[in-house]
Symmetry: C2
Subunit: 169 residues, 2 copies
């Protein structure tokens, strides 16, 4: 049995898996004659492979609770997928569980898991091919703006996790 | 002097200018073994011309108040631009002032203006080349997720509005 500890994400520790979307440390500058501040390019969107196009959707995620048992991981080999919480609350939180895109088997995935507790208005972009758990809103239902790929081809690999793995605070 | 009246946007009346981003009437279906509801493809993103790539940014718009005097319109000839308010409030509101992409002069623009009052969690995508006023948050500062184009080339045309045009409720 493996117990995964939760880590607070930063731009640096999340970089191997994609982009942490946050205003902290973001490049920003005034536009529109000073009436708007642009926090620029918080995340790339990388969905053009094999004729893919970006689309904007909304995911409404049911509430999960800690401790959380891992049963499945997935990845999108043809494109990035960005999640941005629709919230102004500083206390809402969700889980992000990832493994490097280079993993090929359950064993490689489970030996390279990282679990992040993301709080408030912070989003994540999973880079193309990065293994991740489907959306895990904590404590209450949450809405996320999602930017991902629409287009031809198989863009979802899924793998069952049979090892006993628990995420706890 | 022209007084523009405010209209509530719908998918239909906004279609000539782009996409109204709303959960009302959106296609949706369960994913992730039923733990997530996906409100699918609320908007297209059309930024690929001349090597453009999509990026995710955040715009923080200062508060404006009605009546509003129009002084400038702009358009992005190489790509769409999507605005999604980061709010769970039903009462926040912002203005959207548009004119068709086919307009070439101030006179054509001012004779074809449409003004929308957008309330709550609803976004808009300005289609490529559609004339629009820069962000107009009403009554309070507001944050918007913005998906637009990064890349080479001139992607902003701006035109001063010298005619006296006022938007009022």
């Amino acid at each position: 049995m493996i117990k995964l500890n939760l880590v607070e994400p930063s731009r640096e520790n999340f970089a191997p898996f994609g982009d942490l979307i946050t205003l902290d440390g973001a490049e920003h500058f005034p536009i529109n004659q000073g009436s708007t501040e642009r926090f620029h390019a918080l995340s790339k969107v990388d969905v053009g492979d094999e004729g893919g196009k970006p689309i904007i959707s909304l995911f409404r995620g049911k509430a999960f609770h800690l401790p959380f048992k891992l049963r499945v991981m997935e990845r999108h080999p043809l494109g990035s997928q960005s999640f941005i919480p629709v919230t102004t609350s500083l206390t809402n939180q969700y889980l992000v569980i990832v493994a490097p895109a280079t993993c090929q088997t359950e064993e490689e995935i489970t030996q390279n898991l990282h679990a992040f507790l993301v709080k408030g208005f912070r989003g994540v972009t999973y880079a193309k091919g990065v293994w991740h758990h489907p959306l895990i809103s904590l404590d209450e239902e949450q809405d996320f703006i999602v930017v991902d790929r629409s287009g031809p081809g198989n863009n979802c690999d899924e793998i069952s996790i049979t090892q006993e793995i628990t995420v706890a605070n």
